[in-house]
Amino acid sequence: MNQEINVRITGEAGQGIVSVGMMLCRMYKDTGRHVFAIQDYMSRIRGGNNYFQIRVADKPVFSPRAKADVIIALDKDAVAVNKSALAEGGLLILDAGKYDIKSLEKGWFSAPIYALAQAAGGPFYANSVALGMFAAMTCGGPEAAYKAIDKEFGGKGAEIVKNNKLAVRKGYDYVVVKIKDCSFSVSGAQHDRGCLLAGNEALALGAIAAGCKFYTAYPMSPSTGIMNTVADYAGKYGIIVEQAEDEIAAVNMAVGASFAGVRAMTASSGGGFALMCEGLSLAAMTETPLVIAVVMRPGPATGFPTRTAQEDLEFVLHAGHGEFARAVYTPGSPEECFIAAKRAFNTAERFQLPALILSDQYLAESFINIKFPDTSAEPPDRGRIFKSGIAPEPGRYEYSPDGVSPRIIPARSGALAVADSDEHGTESHITESAEVRVKMTRKRLHLKLAGLAKEILPPTVVNPGAKIMLCGFGSTLGVMREACAAAKGAGFIHYSQVWPFPEKSTLTALKGAERVLTMENNASGQLARLIRRETGLKPTGSILKYDGRPFTLDEVAAALEEGK
């Protein structure tokens, strides 16, 4: 195992847990450590219990651990909720006086967090006191914490920055003086500092880089982060971000904008995407490019709004009435989210159909340090667009060998742009013809699907044909990568695109494996069914987790051990 520590900051909503979590990530990254951070929070604005857990290592890390070596709890409930997550030999710091806790259990240490915060300006500086304590216990100095304070609060005025730094100092000094025998340090590694990104942000940056000029959505956790990031850059990149009155409006606006010639996208989670299904079908029928990101959370209905799941794989594969071709991307990391967004726009325009990106809360909101990606990959390709003159006979939807006919942009070519959600002939007027129906279905479904199948993103395959082969899609890439690297006789295949399904590479990768196990954040093994349906190969089992939480490395390692 690499040299690593796991730290957790926890408290109730409103105590700035995310803020201090992000500062911790920056502190570790800027001192040469690799980080992987998960957010666990409740669907409420105040109260409850939230935590931010960071895995800090001298080598790149891609998944969360089950336990934390150091936990700082900012309120009484946080102690009760998080104490079971303390690793053997770990340290849980709490403010016993403030929380009215009479007896300390093994590994607990009481520090006057709130007295220190008060001395810095008030109880809301408790999170920065904690930052200072982490800096002392794990980082060897307060400078990187100060820098993180500058980045986090720089825009809020000198007074705020000064008080936060004072709070850091107080936390730092307290630990240096009072907790002498703690050694949770990880040496800094040499890595290019790169950036700290979560899936939602990377996906948004990919969309901006792809030339998305109209982003419309109705806010829904955990997809809203994409809209936040696009909105942050809207002015700079000339993008209109429009908050729709509902998801039905969002998808129809995205289709309308795309019809008018603009790269447009929308996003939601399962419930909102359910409302978009008719619009998805509309994009297919009118052969209008459409990009939708679906950031999954557990259902049914409202489910677990702030937690994670991979329950909507089959839903997204089949969403929308009628039969039509689509592409479904399932990126496994922020880097893959960036590429998937760019790819989805190209696919949507080149094939004139819906391209979906399937993510989940865990991928969307977990932070990792990555190198600056190659921004030149997947340059925009707008496909066939009719440039000028009179519309070609026989019209916008002329039959073509690959099912794709030149798009017409309204008021930009001299030809008329026409689209209909009814079955239509090549000139886009409504038809009842059986012959036309068959030809148009072939165009929208068979021909386009054949084209898509020629350029499926290749799955990531490690140790093909190993004794135990794991199969996963989307957010499980990191944990499979780490678990298989540590276990003997284990390999994996990870799909960054599940539709069209890469049948051949699947059969090649799994050939010779004794056990084929899918790893999925759902209760029914949806990927296992997909593999069986598309390849005829029946996975021998599935490792399923459907409690709303992501797989930890510990769980997968244990499952592989058991699998031997």
């Binding site: 109209f214 000339g238 509902d246 289709v255 990606p373 925009p380 689209a419």
Partner: protein, 282 residues
């Protein structure tokens, strides 16, 4: 431009004598006067008999989903603010299925013109009550008569701050053409609710019924006065047609900053430098 420039080759599928023909004639006359080429116009519709209109006018068209014309139209206008965008919709499409979009697109105030063929009945699904059907009207689904309170489009639009609210009548073609032209020339969301007799399914609100009741709003009406506009819109015995309310207000294009940008559709996306954004996350 001349009326014939807007003639479509698609054969019309409306019933003989339908009120829609009057609206079609008025729309073509308004477009001829407007002077824009078919290539510069975009007609957007949902589903229903009114939604077939774009097929019968020579112009760009997007005939989308039931109730969803407004979001598609608003986004097309946002994407290319040089387009003249006109929505042809019905009382079921716009006030029923798409009611939420009606509300919020008035608030959004993109510069689009919405012509609602209001026949107070569902035609394409063969004669059920619509949001504007009169209480007591008997249908196959409502054999005891409609019991719901009618949706008041004009009052609703006024309450929501719509800057151009008008009502026309399919039998008053020239008058309607003037309303449509005024709506297109208004910079913002313009609503034209049009009485459109359904000769097949609405045996109550017939040409004769409307003709007895409608009257043209005279010069004495101050269309910039919202209180008197509300009073006109609420009239039930006699039915005023004309511009009920008109007041300039900033459009979406102005407030969103679109006016200061080249149309989104003309943005060059070939060479976007995303590196500075990544640096922000360092």
């Amino acid at each position: 431009m001349e009326i014939k420039d807007f003639n479509s080759i698609d054969p019309v599928a409306w019933c003989p004598g339908c009120g829609n023909f009057g609206i079609q004639g008025a729309l073509k006359a308004a477009l001829a006067k407007l002077g824009k080429k078919p290539q510069e116009l975009l007609l957007v519709s949902g589903i229903g008999q009114a939604a077939k209109m774009p097929h019968y006018i020579n112009a760009n068209f997007f005939n989308g989903l039931h109730g969803r014309a407004l979001p598609a139209a608003a986004a097309a206008k946002i994407s290319n603010r040089e387009l003249t965008v006109i929505v042809t919709t019905g009382d079921g499409d716009c006030y029923g299925e798409g009611g939420n979009h009606f509300i919020h697109n008035i608030r959004r105030n993109t510069d689009i013109t919405v012509i609602v063929h209001d026949n107070q009945i569902y035609g394409l699904t063969k004669g059920q009550a619509s949001p504007t059907s009169e209480p007591g009207m008997k249908t196959k689904i409502q054999p005891g008569g409609v019991i719901l309170t009618p949706f008041p489009p004009l009052e609703m639009a006024l309450a929501l701050g719509c800057g151009f609210v008008a009502r026309g009548y399919a039998a008053e073609r020239e008058h309607l053409a003037e309303l449509i032209l005024a709506g297109i020339n208004y910079n913002g969301f313009s609503l034209i609710d049009v009485f459109q007799p359904c000769v097949s399914f609405n045996k109550l609100n017939t040409f004769e019924w409307y003709s007895k009741r409608v009257y043209k709003v005279g010069a004495e009406h101050d269309a910039s006065n919202k209180v008197s506009a509300m009073a006109l819109a609420a009239e039930m015995e006699r039915l005023p047609i004309g511009i009920i309310y008109k007041k300039e207000k900033p459009s979406y294009s102005e407030l969103s900053g679109l006016d200061g940008m080249k149309p989104l559709v003309d943005a060059d996306i070939g060479n976007i430098d995303i590196s500075p954004a990544f640096s922000d996350f360092s």
